[in-house]
């Protein structure tokens, strides 16, 4: 809302500089966001919160100044001398719950022409273009009183009558087409309130007038409308039509049902002054009179909620100037009658806010509450929050940089990954009003965002990439229920086989898997295994599902070249590893309770053996066989060499493993170990159908 300081001073005689007045308004709740200097005047850009419709006007803002400065509010001249009372004109409200009051005045024989400069300037300073004297007067009064008015060309109205009703109530119709004065033909829903003459609709009530009844240069007689329309009804119509006007903006926030009369009189005076003509008597249909609400306010409650110690007279004094009618009720309380322009005040707390803002928030002391120590958080929640923080920290320490992406995804991003139609990740939550089609769904996987980040970075020459993101993903559970939200952590490792100073001694898959193992070990997870993954977007030979406690918790693997080819990735022979893991799975398997175990007393003995076996037999199987051998003396087994090539038959490989033997009771002798190891080798040879490599 733009407000001219000169104009405000018509209603409140203060000497303050505009900056000081603006500061005062800001500190009492009407934030002045900017002050613009125009022709020696200062124009305030006021941020009016939705509860303060009354401040969408000069009088409303002036009233705030009047209350802050304790200077009385001065109203403009409102005495209309009606020159004739004869009127052959009828007003009929068919939907009284949508239109609680309808008033109007007829002015005849006026001359439509340009407005005087002083009016043009005031309108323009407040952001309204001058059209002609008649329309300008309605806009001027709109700015002054915050009450929208509409002027019809009286001669275009059929049958000397106005009706107020919806297409449904007036014509039993489910909707109709109507041309508004901006020249647009619009579909008006059956439940939108309209203004009609004897034959047809002539305006969308409270939103915009019709083209056919618009005031033009040839107009001589007018009907000025001043009405109270139900806010929610106007809001619904404005939303449905996608049409927001100065009038609808005020009606939907609530106008002053009493002051509509004042605004009408003020417009009649200005009309006569600027355009001449004869003003006729007022028509006023007001089926149900407004009854102000009354609120009981306790002095003690005011002090208790705010943390101050004001005397009753101080509390009452702070409310001066707001136009509230106050009646003292003994020593403990007072009664407030709320004027219609303050529809935001409905309860004691609202009055407490009025006291607080006029007393000044900065005058209320600041103190810390006296309270018991410690929060009331559940132990499990603390544990899980700590664990999540630790997992993120582990990725950071492993060199991964944290990404934060928007939660949205486009369906084509799942197509890119060849996610099948029956995959859970296709259970997408659709947003009805997305900003862009690429952001029309809530994501079910983080990986596409990391791929996007990779493309961005590589195209900007950032070629050494390790990114991770921890975020929720969303799976639809049906159109009327909330989706399932799951927390996941995903990472992307990108390395281009370009010039590097030092060679990487392990394949990238193992580099990332090593980090994952460290992260999981850090959470105390012991039961984790890896099985070949069938994720459609991963390299089938270089991808594993991560199995925790027997359940798939995620996957790790090289991005399939089939996917990489479809990306506009300007890199030669890139190696891209992605991993994605469910946080709840980590959470439920995590064991972080440590118990001390005695250190071993006796030394260990190690034996190494190399086997030649079928190349398809994987490490996990060999380890499994070794570990399943029934002996308490085997402390640990590990594979330390895998070799294929010269000296080994094609289709075979050599696998060397190390076994560490130890007894908790004594030092093992060479002979004992020799015998045990021979049996173990025999066992593994039998299981793998391999041969000991000589």
């Amino acid at each position: 809302m733009r407000a001219s300081f000169d104009w405000l001073k018509d209603f409140v005689k203060i000497d303050a500089a505009p900056e000081a007045a603006a500061e005062k308004l800001t500190m009492t709740g009407l934030e002045v966001e900017a002050i613009e200097r125009i022709d020696g005047d200062a124009v305030f850009e006021v941020n009016v919160t939705p509860n303060r419709a009354d401040c969408l006007s000069m009088i409303g803002i002036a009233r705030e100044l009047s209350a802050s400065y304790n200077v009385p509010l001065v109203f403009p001249d409102l005495n209309v001398v009606s020159e004739s009372k004869e009127l052959d004109f009828n007003v009929e409200i068919t939907d009284p719950e949508l239109c609680r009051r309808y008033a109007g005045r007829i002015v005849r024989n006026l001359r439509v022409g340009p407005s005087p400069d002083w009016m043009k300037k005031r309108l323009e300073k407040c952001g309204i273009r001058s059209i002609n004297n008649v329309v300008d007067v309605t806009n001027y009064v709109l700015l002054e009183f915050g009450h929208p008015l509409h002027a019809f060309d009286l001669k275009t109205l059929k049958g000397s009558m106005i009706r107020i009703g919806t297409p449904k109530s007036v014509k039993g119709s489910a909707g109709l087409k109507f041309k508004t004065l901006d020249g647009t033909e619009r579909d008006i829903p059956g439940d939108s309130l309209m203004i009609w003459d004897a034959e047809r609709p002539i305006a969308v009530a409270g939103v915009m007038g019709g083209l056919d009844t618009e005031v033009t240069g040839a107009t001589t007689d007018i009907f000025i409308e001043s009405a109270y329309f139900e806010p929610t009804s106007i809001r619904r119509t404005s939303k449905k039509l996608g049409l927001k006007t100065d009038a609808s903006y005020r009606f939907e926030r609530g106008t002053d049902i009493k002051a509509l009369e004042t605004a009408l009189d003020r417009s009649a005076i200005l009309m006569k002054e600027l355009a001449g003509g004869t003003v006729y008597g007022k028509i006023d249909i007001y089926p149900k009179t407004f009854h102000p609400i009354e609120i009981n306010v306790r002095y003690e409650r005011v002090n208790k909620v705010l943390g101050i110690k004001l005397e009753p007279r101080q509390i009452l004094a702070s409310l001066n100037g707001l136009g509230l009618e106050i009646e003292e009720q003994g020593s403990a309380a007072f009664k407030v009658q709320v004027p219609p322009y303050r529809s935001d005040i409905t309860m004691e707390a609202d009055i407490i806010e009025e006291v607080a803002r006029l007393y000044g928030y900065d005058n209320i002391p600041a103190e810390l509450p006296e309270t018991c120590l410690g929060g009331d958080q559940k132990k499990e929640d603390i544990y899980s929050q700590d664990l999540k923080r630790d997992v993120r920290q582990s990725f950071l320490k492993a060199g991964f940089t944290e990404a934060v992406n928007l939660s949205f995804i486009g369906a084509d991003e799942l197509d890119l990954l060849s996610i099948p139609a029956d995959d859970a990740r296709r259970k997408l939550v659709r947003i009805k009003n997305p900003l862009r089609e690429e952001e029309a769904f809530m994501r079910t996987t983080i990986v596409p965002a990391l791929i996007r980040n990779m493309l961005h970075n590589v195209s900007h020459g950032n070629r050494d990439l390790k990114l991770f993101e921890a975020s929720r993903v969303f799976f639809s559970t049906g159109p009327d229920t909330l989706p399932e939200e799951k927390e996941r952590i995903a990472a992307l490792y990108f390395r281009e086989k370009a010039k590097t100073l030092y060679r990487e001694d392990a394949q990238d898959f193992y580099v990332v898997k090593g980090i994952l193992e460290a992260v999981l070990a850090g959470t105390g997870i012991t039961d984790v295994s890896y099985v070949r993954s069938s994720e459609p977007f991963l390299h089938p030979g270089r991808a594993a599902d991560i199995i925790i406690n027997g359940q798939k918790a995620g996957y790790i693997g090289a991005l399939s070249p089939a996917v990489t080819e479809k990306l506009d990735l300007k890199a030669s022979k890139p190696s891209i590893i992605v991993l994605d893991i469910d946080i709840a799975s980590i959470m439920s398997a995590s064991k972080r309770k440590a118990t001390y175990r005695q250190l071993p007393k006796y030394p260990f003995v190690e034996r190494d053996t190399a086997l030649v076996l079928d190349a398809a037999i994987e490490a996990a199987e060999i380890i499994g066989h070794l570990k399943s051998y029934p002996s308490d003396l085997i402390e640990d087994v590990s594979i330390f060499d895998v070799y294929q090539g010269t000296g080994i038959e094609p289709g075979k490989k050599s696998v060397a493993f190390n076994v560490r033997y130890r007894s908790p009771e004594k030092t093992l002798t060479d002979a004992e170990v020799e015998a045990l190891h021979a049996k173990l080798v025999e066992h593994i040879v039998g299981k793998t159908k391999g041969q000991v490599r000589g």
């Binding site: 809001r235 909620v305 607080a356 940089t401 990404a403 909330l482």
Partner: protein
């Protein structure tokens, strides 16, 4: 007799130039067929008296030669080690094999700082769904359908009754429904509004907080939030409270802090005012307390909320919110 050998040894010692020369010299005098060894052997031909004296002399000579040779040898050994180590030298100015830590995202970093301050004040941390019922996001917070207050938050809709939460306030309602006062917690998380430009992102992060108990006052709200801002931005930061409007609080306040960029002198970011809007807050609206079954006569509380993007952008002087979601590592690494 032994003097006959000492001088020639010393002469020869002077011409020793390598470890092998030194070894050879040692063998020449002290070896099995060495000159000194020969003299020791010839002692048996002497009379007992002569033998004792000569033996002593030869022994001294032997020890002398031994020590001199060892000294020489160790000099050459040191030299050889030096030469070998020198040959093993590497370019210590080449960079190390890069193993830097990753960088925490500036939003996580800021969020972590905010959470830490409140947890130190005894607030717990609560979470709730990001896709939320209209009921929790609006209605229970005193924002009915068809109310202009809905214009304050441009909402993404999933259906007529399901929205992407526009703030983390619905977490407050969910917690209050399930617990009785006293309550003291914050609700951090992602929120959504359909708006996108240099200062608005359709997804952003909020931290909201709530404290409800028997005797909670507006003055407590001021105390807690001033403490928070001073811990986050420094003990001297000016703070002011001014009236505002939120449907779920009454009275409501907007909290400004002195502009940290221009030290309150007025700049582009603070639009010349010297103040930056940083928090929204207020006393919980009695209607909200009633909605969750609390008696507003018995309990009062305050609630507050802040945008993490705004705080991060101010703290790190970031002028375009989109940078925060582009994940360009040249940007992200600036916060490690």
């Amino acid at each position: 007799m032994s003097d006959d050998l000492k001088q020639p040894f010393l002469d020869e010692l002077k011409s020793v130039t390598s470890l092998s020369d030194a070894a050879a010299l040692k063998v020449k005098y002290l070896g099995k067929k060495g000159l000194v060894t020969a003299q020791i052997k010839s002692l048996s031909t002497l009379s007992p008296d002569e033998r004792k004296q000569a033996g002593q002399q030869i022994n001294e000579l032997k020890q002398f030669i031994e020590a001199e040779c060892d000294k020489k040898e160790s000099v050459f050994k040191n030299d050889e080690l030096k030469i070998r180590l020198l040959s093993e030298s590497i370019d210590i100015t080449l960079p190390g094999k890069f193993a830097a830590f990753g960088s925490e995202h500036p939003l996580s970093k800021t969020l972590g700082e905010v959470i830490d301050i409140f947890t130190r004040m005894g607030f717990s941390v609560e979470e709730g769904p990001e896709v939320e019922l209209d009921q929790y996001n609006f209605e229970a917070l005193n924002i009915p359908k068809d109310h202009p207050a809905r214009d304050m938050q441009d909402t993404f809709y999933v259906s007529d009754d399901i929205v992407l939460r526009t703030h983390t306030s619905p977490v407050q309602v969910r917690v209050m429904e399930n617990r009785k006062p006293p309550l003291r917690f914050i609700a951090p998380g992602k929120v959504y509004r359909c708006d996108a430009d240099v200062t608005h992102s359709p997804m952003f992060h909020q931290v909201e907080g709530l404290m409800v108990d028997k005797d909670i006052k507006f003055s407590h709200l001021k105390g807690v939030l001033i403490t928070f801002l001073r811990q986050l931005f420094g003990p001297d930061i000016p703070v002011r409270f001014r009236p505002s409007f939120f449907p779920f609080t009454e009275p409501s306040a907007e909290i400004d802090m002195g502009c940290i960029l221009c030290k309150s002198a007025g700049c582009r970011v603070c639009k010349g005012s010297g103040w930056l809007e940083i928090l929204g807050a207020g006393m919980v609206n009695p209607k909200v307390l009633e909605n969750v079954g609390y008696d507003p006569e018995e309990y009062t509380g305050f609630a507050f909320g802040m945008g993490i993007e705004r705080i991060a952008m101010l703290k790190y002087s970031i002028d375009d919110i989109r940078l925060l979601f582009e994940n360009d590592i040249r940007f992200l690494r600036q916060f490690s």
